[in-house]
Symmetry: C2
Subunit: 110 residues, 2 copies
DNA sequence: TTTTAGTACTATGTGTTGCAAGGTATTAAA
DNA sequence: TTTAATACCTTGCAACACATAGTACTAAAA
């Protein structure tokens, strides 16, 4: 049971993380560790235990597909790729995100 | 198990709603129904069953206080008011929100 | 060969949040 | 007395992020 600045961020991430991942995969296919890297580079701190289940969820919803690819170092990699359905979902998320940003601005500027 | 554009919005609201309410009460004290009205006016659709527990939670965390006030029409109203601790929390949320907005922009613009 | 380290993916249980649905209490008008 | 309007509250549920732990494959060191 506790707060702190980190919990605030954790709660705000909900729903947004899924949006981030679809956006990343909309640019190019990638495997989980690379996605994690890009999220960290963009200052969105998350951990493996969060990203992997999310990818599986999105794949089960038909938003993503994947293919295996051998790696010279370590086990094979699961390259994820956005589907047509995923692109539609991403379009809705773009709208929803813009709405929320506008909402906050409206409330703040009064 | 469900999708739809509304679910997308519902998920993105998580954590943000708390931020909205603190922001509203930072401007002036208000009772729950009035807060609901302002949220709807700002295009943030929520329902009573979401707002009331949230106000109680924030009050229990010491972010809000309240006082009762008689109404000429209908039952008495519970006017909520932000506390000093609530203002500190709001400050952290301002930062967290700005960070997330920047993160999305970073991912999107690449 | 066996062990160690590094990389990649998976599974389980917990706490927080938003929501649907329904309920209680007060006041004024029909 | 009944109805409608206003205001507040409760319960049970699903989705999400996270901590923690575990599996599997590869290559280099012992």
């Amino acid at each position: 049971m506790e707060n702190g600045a980190e919990n605030v961020r954790s709660q705000m991430r909900k729903g947004v993380l899924e949006y981030c991942i679809l956006s990343i995969l909309d640019k190019k296919e990638a495997y989980a560790s690379a996605i994690l890297e890009e999220l960290k580079a963009a200052n969105m701190i998350v951990v493996e235990g969060t990203v992997y289940p999310l990818l599986i969820r999105q794949k089960n919803q038909g938003l993503l597909s994947y293919r295996w690819e051998e790696s010279t170092q370590g086990p094979p990699r699961k390259y994820y790729c956005i589907t047509e359905k995923g692109r539609q979902q991403l379009g809705e998320m773009d709208l929803a995100w813009q709405e929320i940003v506008d909402t906050i601005r409206t409330i703040k500027e009064k």
